[in-house]
Symmetry: C2
Subunit: 335 residues, 2 copies
């Protein structure tokens, strides 16, 4: 039996570590590769492959629409998928604070298992460290994912070209505002929830139908504005965004307005930006809208070479303003 | 210019994050894959591959023989190599505490770059989170490594067979005692240092000469005793260790004796356990002893089927005692 709270010796590598691995991680994550419990996993995958890593430090651990576990699976699945790859395998490393309630850990592990099953990825190797009380805030999780490349050349941040259309797969800002509201105990006129979701399947469908896609990117930390700035910089192009075309949940829009936040800078955890040759716009939008995670997909802008490296927002009244990269921290520990 | 201490907004995903990535990580880790700064890296590697992950939370950050950066590279390189693979690519994820001195971060990043160059691995993708003061103790690092399998069937923990010889590549306990002594300000009659080292090259040479090797494992947390117990359990065999044949630096032996510690339970970060058919023992020892990291290699025991799952220590006087897996935490935050 495990005590109700995590003891320091659970991270020692000894007996207590092995009990934790068997009773918690193997119970929920079991698959033939992980079950071997070697220091590394042997994977059948043929190259080239995509690899991505992220650490998750979100607070609070649980929030409407997800928790740190769903984020840790879907965030890394999405980063791998954005390079035009099918995510297949994840590593998973926990850093746990001494005294953590085991019931909290089990809730997180259970959500991770569910999210991994839905995204059809397997957790194949892991690590657990337990640090003394105060050395970490409850639970941090790192996941690293690898996947097989579906399209060559891969969609990459430097491939946006003048004339390309800019699409998003849905509403912007839901995750960021949800975390902020949960943390501060705020409520709005209607419930809001994080959009946390794995987009691997949607991307596989998109790339099958439109292999010509130039860029896929998930607008997480720093939001849509920061992501578009990164792409504009990497590709040496301008990105023009028509403000009224950006889908925003009215409750999120009202909440942001009340709090003085810009939803274009708030994190998303289940959305993608897709930049592709203009002529494929309708087909890509149709495929997104048929998917459970792309129902509010929209075209929001156009790539040009007017001011390379810049993102320009065209307001409903026809004015233009520079949409710069996030300066300062809008919200720490958002993911 | 960077301020002398890390600000919270450096982890926002916005401008300050990009400055940190360019000025610190790209400066030291630069390679054509990482330089692209996409969310994931595209890697040319053909399967099957080995994958392993570890988070590093060691305290203090710097110690004789290494630092958290050298550990983060070599520890993961070793886990990948122990499955009989050539480590090729690492991801690297930092969790940094607001207020961390930038000079400390740069020292760590510089050691990581040097360790990666020596081990001939490339850091191809990364992540940086900055959390508010108090949410993490200074710096935690996760690295995940992948490599190409060199030998099939791979050395694995379940492949030890009765009659096999058990070898170690050098002295036991150096890392564990060094960390403890540094933390507590202890000094011994002569200086001691961590054995932190990447063993990829040594393992490639070993497997080329002796592809029949059954098990390779690095005795890190929980030390040699715990590692041998894991193998005995996975393979369903007994492991007999002759105590006087286990190489131990006399200063470490004296320090352990003084402190009441058993060096067989102390962590190593640059050593391996090798289990192989008896007839290849001399050749494997010769190859290890020719390598800079295997000069004190020795045969320490034999596999049998007397008591499956057990590790038995034969003392110099001929007595036998059970060498159990570590129970409790000898030392937290050792790696």
């Amino acid at each position: 039996m495990h005590p109700p709270r995590l003891l320091l010796d659970t991270g020692s590598g000894g007996k207590a570590s092995h009990r934790l691995i068997k009773d918690f991680f193997l119970k929920h994550f079991a698959n033939e590769i992980l079950n071997r419990l070697d220091d590394a996993a042997i994977l059948k995958i043929s190259g080239p492959i995509a690899m991505s890593t992220d650490s998750y430090t979100v607070t609070p651990l649980f929030f409407p629409g997800g928790d740190i576990g769903t984020l840790a699976i879907n965030g890394t699945v999405n980063d791998v998928a954005m390079l035009g790859a099918r995510p297949l395998f994840l590593s998973c490393a926990f850093i746990l604070e001494e005294g953590l309630e085991m019931e909290v850990l089990e809730r997180i592990v259970r959500s991770m298992a569910q999210a991994a099953a839905k995204a059809q990825v397997r957790i194949v190797t892991g690590d657990t460290k337990v640090v003394p009380k105060g050395a970490v805030d409850q639970v941090f999780i790192n996941t690293t994912g690898i996947g097989e490349i579906l399209a060559q050349p891969c969609p990459q941040g430097h491939r946006a070209r003048p004339g390309d259309a800019v699409l998003v797969s849905g509403t912007m800002g839901d995750h960021g505002l949800t975390i902020l509201a949960t943390r501060e105990g705020l409520s709005f006129e209607a419930p809001i929830a994080s959009d946390c979701a794995g987009l691997g399947h949607l991307i596989a469908k998109l790339l099958k139908a439109v292999p010509e896609i130039h860029v896929l990117r998930d607008p997480t930390r720093g939001g849509l504005a920061t992501t578009l700035n990164e792409i504009a910089g990497q590709s040496g192009v301008q990105c023009l965004v028509r403000e009224e075309t950006v889908p925003i949940n009215p409750v999120v829009a009202a909440g942001c307005s009340f709090l003085g936040l810009d939803p274009l800078y708030l994190a998303n955890e289940g959305k993608l930006v897709c930049i592709l040759p203009e002529e494929h716009t309708d087909q890509a939008l149709r495929i997104m809208r048929e998917d459970e995670y792309g129902q509010n997909a929209a075209r929001i802008g156009t790539i040009s070479n007017d001011h390379p490296g810049r993102v320009v927002l065209q307001t409903p009244l026809g004015g233009h303003r520079l949409l710069d990269m996030l300066e300062g921290a809008q919200l720490p520990r958002i993911c």
